[in-house]
Structures are given as structure tokens and as C-alpha cells.
């Protein structure tokens, strides 16, 4: 029988994969995808809890998160375009003018 605990563990695994992706990936687009993975891990969590608690608030929040994530992706893509125009690359490591 699959209960909420399984979903929480799955969500934790997905979330950590996303976080590790943000930490190790160089390509801005891959980083953006990793971020989406993190948000969706959260959504999985919210919906699992919502189902177990028989409370709709969690699902409502999940819909908000999907919306916000879409807006976030739009801004991220806009920044990628600006980065490509300025430096002709999508590698995040190239953006290191400021340091120290």
C-alpha cells in the first residue's frame, strides 16, 4: 500500500536531485530545469499532504506554485537571452566579473 510517507520520500529525493543540479550544472537552461524539478517536488509534497489531511489548501497552494514557477521560468529565460546577447554563452560560470 502506498501512503503519504512514500510520496514524501519521493519528493525529498526529487528535491535533492534538483538542488544538486543547481549546484553542479553549468548550463543556465539545465539549472532552470533543475529549479523546476525542485518546485514540482514541493508540489508533490503539497498534494500528498492535502490528500492525507483531506484539506484543499495544499492543492490550492500547489496551483499557486505552478503559476509562480511559470512566471519565474519566463524571467529566467529572459535573463538567458540577455546573457547570450551580451556574452554569447549560456554557461553560468562565465558570469564572474564581480567577485571578492
Amino acid at each position: 500500500m502506498i501512503d503519504a510517507t512514500h510520496y514524501v520520500v519521493l519528493s525529498l529525493i526529487l528535491f535533492c536531485l534538483g538542488l544538486i543540479g543547481v549546484m553542479v550544472r553549468r548550463n543556465f537552461i539545465t539549472v532552470l530545469m533543475s529549479l523546476e524539478l525542485m518546485f514540482n517536488a514541493v508540489n508533490l509534497n503539497l498534494i500528498a499532504f492535502s490528500f492525507r489531511l483531506s484539506d484543499l489548501a495544499g492543492q490550492v497552494l500547489a496551483i499557486f506554485v505552478i503559476t509562480v514557477a511559470a512566471a519565474e521560468a519566463a524571467i529566467g529565460l529572459g535573463l538567458i537571452i540577455a546573457l547570450v546577447r551580451l556574452k554569447d554563452t549560456v554557461a553560468l560560470d562565465e558570469a564572474d566579473v564581480m567577485r571578492g
Binding site: M38, F49, A57, G76
Partner: protein
């Protein structure tokens, strides 16, 4: 939910509409520079303040509206007015800067208004969902503002870093929220508070959730070790944006921090206090020590603003009434000092470029004695020297920290304030004791921009006035307390 619920929400509705109007009006008005549209935006901010006074104030005690999603209380009003003042000052300072860089003012002003709307919701959110949405509205607007100078490498780079780290941190915060939802069964702050107060929880998932929410808040206030985005985003952003984001979002992040930790999670204080103690001490030490050798004034002020978040965190560690209103007071004081200091960086120009290097301030006292005196006031204030407001702010934080028994934290902050004198006065030494390069034919000059000058003057007057006559602000900050449901 009834129609009457929308009345106290009118300031927010108005602000949102104003954002769209300013965005559209920027197209026809933009041909005559950014000033007309910025004037419009400032007028909208003023009208919002009036609306808050008319309908957005709690009649008696906190008032929950819109299905308990938001709460209207004195605490929220304090931060809303602070946000309005900071945005108005930053907008006025930005007008000439945008014209010189030839970027349009309409989009800029509307982004500030949208960020303000997000911050209003953060300040008065009574539900983790509404707090999250407010936070994201603020954050998304600010990412764009940081990268507003899209043809400048630094601006873009700052935005990219801020965006990636900010998005990751809000995902982590959200993960924490989902765990708290799962363990307490609610997103409503009051319900969570009651649940936590009734049943002492040792649940691992709950503590994990609280830790992750604390992480998200520490990231937003730029506390060590979650500050890494700050120096780069502050240095890269257009200076008026830096002035704005170093003040308003930080203040409302503290508002949300206080509402969650001094209010909702107060029952679990024994678990999170140690984390905040460490974060506060590390932030003060890191911010001040790292600021010492900076040669870029914006970057120096970025580290300094990290340090100031550390000071304010002391009030949260104290966890008492005195600590809480000291944080409110400190945010207001810090807002004026920091905006004023950035105002001078906005106005300084060296060979057609922004004068951001410390050497650009050399000999300023001789060429522009008034400006140098103004900068001196802000530096004294940031260093916490009487009779400026900065001293008052720190004094109340120290008093609360010592009273709560965290002597060592207070000692660290006093020592680090002493360290901070070094880098603040490096600027003063440049202005007053260095002659500037004798062969330099065109030393950095203060641009004469009446708008920015007036905004800086307001900041200077407030810095001195609060230092000499803090009673009204203290009273106002104290009035925000009862709303939090503290003891």
C-alpha cells in the same frame, strides 16, 4: 468573505492598478524623459499612503480579511508606510540616473510599484500561501529591476546570480512550508500557532520545515551564510535599484520573519533561537570584515547592509517585546541612512561614468562641502555614532539583547561596530583629508540633480531628527507589537 473585506484591501488594489497605469503611461510620457512618469508613480505612492490612513488601518486590534488570508494591523501599517517612503525616495533618486543612462522610466516605476504590492502582502500575510505569493511577486519584480540595464554586463550578471539563488531559496522555503503544512495540517498562521502551543512537537519533519523556512527568511534578509548573492546583485544593479533593494525588501523580509518566528513559531523558540544566534553573529562578523577592503563603494555598502541585517537579527534572538520593536525601529532608521548613502553614489560622476570607486570621493569636501557633510552624516549614522539615528537604533537593539541575557552577542556587535568604523571612515578620510589626484584634470563631480538632492536631504534630516528626537518613532514601533500576539 464579504464585500466589506475589500475595503481595507483598497490600498493594495489601488497600488496594483497604479502599477499598470504607470506602465502604460510610460509609453507616451517616456518621450520627455523619465521624470513625468516617475512623478506619476510617486503621486500613486502618496495616494496609497493616504488610502492606508483612510481605510487601511485597523479600527481596533488586528482585523482578518479575505478569508483570513491577510491581516490588517498596526505592525503591517508600519512596514507598508516604510516601504512607501523608501520606494518614493528611491524613485525620486532614480529619475536623473535613468535619463543619463537612457533607460525608460515607465517600466522601472511600474516594477517598483509591483514589488511594493508584493511587499504589502508580505507585511500583512496571515497565511503561508499569501505570504509566499507576496514574496514571489516582490522577488520577481526585483530580479527584473536588478537586470534592468540589460546592455550592461554587471547588471545582467547580478540579475542572473540573484535569480538562480533566489529561485532555489524560494523552492527550499516552499519545501519547508509544505512540511509545516503536512505536520500541522494548516497553512493559516493562527491555526499553526495554536497547534504548536497546545502540543509540544518534536516531530522531525516539523523541525525540518521550520529550519527550511528560517533558511528562506535568512536568505531574504541576506544573513550569512545565505548572503552570497548580495554583494554581486548590489554591485551589478543600477544604483537606485541597489538603494531600493537594500532597504525595502530587507525591511519586509524582517516583517515576515518577525510574524513567523516571533509570532507563529514562538512555541518552538528553543529550537530556532540557536540558529538565529549563530546567523546573527556570523552575519555581523562576515559583513563587517569583508567590507574592510572593498574599493567599490556600492560593494562596500552591500557588505555593510549584510552587517546591518546581523545587528537587526539580534532583536529576533532576544525574542522579547523590546527586541521586536527594536527591529522595527532599526529597519526604519537603517532605511533612511542607507538610501541617503546610495543617493550620493547615484549623484557622483567621474568622467562620464558613475563614481563608484572609493577614490572618486577624494577631495570631495573641498569641491562640494555640502555633499561631503551629508555623506558624513550617513557614514556616522551607519557606524552608529550619536547623535544620529543609527546610534539610537543600535542602542535599543543592544539594550534588548543584553536584557534578554545574550551578552556575548551584544559584545560581538559592539566589537564589529568598531570594525565598521574603519571602512565607513575610509570614505570620510577620502572626502576630507585626501586632496585627490593633482594631475587628474576632471575629478569626480556631484551632478546637480534637484530631485535626488531633495531626496537625500530628506534622508539626512530624518537621520539627524530621529537621532535627536526618537520618541515618536519609538512609540510607533511599539504600537506595532500588540498585533503580533506576543506576550
Amino acid at each position: 468573505m464579504s464585500l466589506a473585506d475589500f475595503v481595507p484591501f483598497l490600498p493594495e488594489i489601488f497600488l496594483g492598478c497604479a502599477g499598470f497605469i504607470v506602465l502604460l503611461a510610460g509609453i507616451p510620457l517616456g518621450r520627455r524623459g523619465s521624470r513625468p512618469v516617475i512623478a506619476l508613480a510617486v503621486a500613486a505612492l502618496a495616494a496609497t499612503a493616504v488610502l492606508i490612513f483612510l481605510v487601511g488601518r485597523p479600527a481596533a486590534g488586528p482585523q482578518l480579511i479575505l478569508g483570513d488570508m491577510l491581516v490588517v494591523d498596526q505592525f503591517a501599517v508600519f512596514f507598508k508606510l516604510l516601504v512607501l517612503a523608501a520606494s518614493a525616495l528611491a524613485l525620486v533618486m532614480a529619475a536623473g540616473y535613468l535619463d543619463r543612462a537612457q533607460y525608460s522610466g515607465g517600466e522601472f516605476a511600474s516594477l517598483i510599484l509591483f514589488a511594493d504590492l508584493g511587499m504589502f502582502i508580505m507585511a500583512s500575510g496571515a497565511n503561508l500561501a499569501s505570504l509566499y505569493v507576496g514574496l514571489e511577486l516582490m522577488a520577481l519584480s526585483v530580479y527584473v529591476l536588478v537586470g534592468y540595464f540589460k546592455l550592461e554586463v554587471k547588471s545582467n550578471e547580478g540579475a542572473v546570480k540573484y535569480f538562480v539563488l533566489g529561485a532555489a531559496s524560494s523552492a527550499i522555503l516552499l519545501y519547508g512550508i509544505s512540511l509545516i503544512y503536512g505536520t500541522t495540517g494548516s497553512l493559516d498562521l493562527e491555526t499553526i500557532r495554536v497547534t504548536l502551543a497546545e502540543v509540544p512537537h518534536q516531530n522531525f519533519l516539523l523541525l525540518l520545515g521550520i529550519a527550511l523556512v528560517a533558511f528562506g527568511m535568512l536568505f531574504k534578509v541576506a544573513a550569512v551564510p545565505f548572503h552570497v548573492w548580495t554583494p554581486d546583485a548590489y554591485e551589478g544593479a543600477p544604483t537606485p535599484v541597489t538603494a531600493f533593494i537594500s532597504v525595502a525588501p530587507k525591511a519586509v523580509a524582517f516583517a515576515m520573519f518577525l510574524r513567523l518566528f516571533a509570532g507563529t513559531f514562538a512555541g518552538e523558540v528553543e529550537h530556532w533561537r540557536m540558529l538565529l544566534w549563530i546567523a546573527s553573529a556570523a552575519t555581523m562578523i562576515y559583513g563587517n570584515v569583508a567590507a574592510l577592503t572593498q574599493i567599490n563603494v556600492k560593494r562596500m555598502l552591500a557588505y555593510s547592509s549584510i552587517a546591518h541585517a546581523g545587528y537587526a537579527l539580534m532583536g529576533l534572538v532576544a525574542g522579547s517585546d523590546a527586541g521586536t520593536w527594536a527591529v522595527l525601529m532599526y529597519m526604519a532608521v537603517y532605511a533612511f541612512m542607507n538610501l541617503g548613502a546610495f543617493g550620493f553614489v547615484i549623484l557622483l560622476e567621474s568622467r562620464g561614468y558613475a563614481g563608484e570607486r572609493i577614490e572618486d570621493f577624494a577631495g570631495l569636501a573641498r569641491r562640494h562641502p555640502g555633499a561631503a557633510a551629508g555623506m558624513l552624516i550617513f557614514m556616522l549614522g551607519l557606524a552608529g555614532i550619536p547623535p544620529t539615528a543609527g546610534f539610537m537604533g543600535k542602542l535599543y537593539l543592544w539594550a534588548a539583547t543584553v536584557e534578554a541575557g545574550y551578552i556575548w552577542l551584544a559584545v560581538i556587535s559592539v566589537l564589529m561596530s568598531a570594525v565598521s568604523l574603519y571602512y565607513y571612515f575610509r570614505l570620510v578620510v577620502q572626502m576630507y583629508l585626501k586632496e585627490g589626484d593633482a594631475e587628474d584634470e576632471s575629478p569626480a563631480e556631484m551632478l546637480s540633480d534637484r530631485w535626488a538632492g531633495a531626496a537625500i536631504a530628506v534622508c539626512a534630516v530624518m537621520t539627524l531628527a530621529i537621532g535627536l528626537w526618537p520618541a515618536p518613532l519609538v512609540g510607533w514601533a511599539k504600537s506595532g507589537l500588540s498585533a503580533l500576539g506576543l506576550v
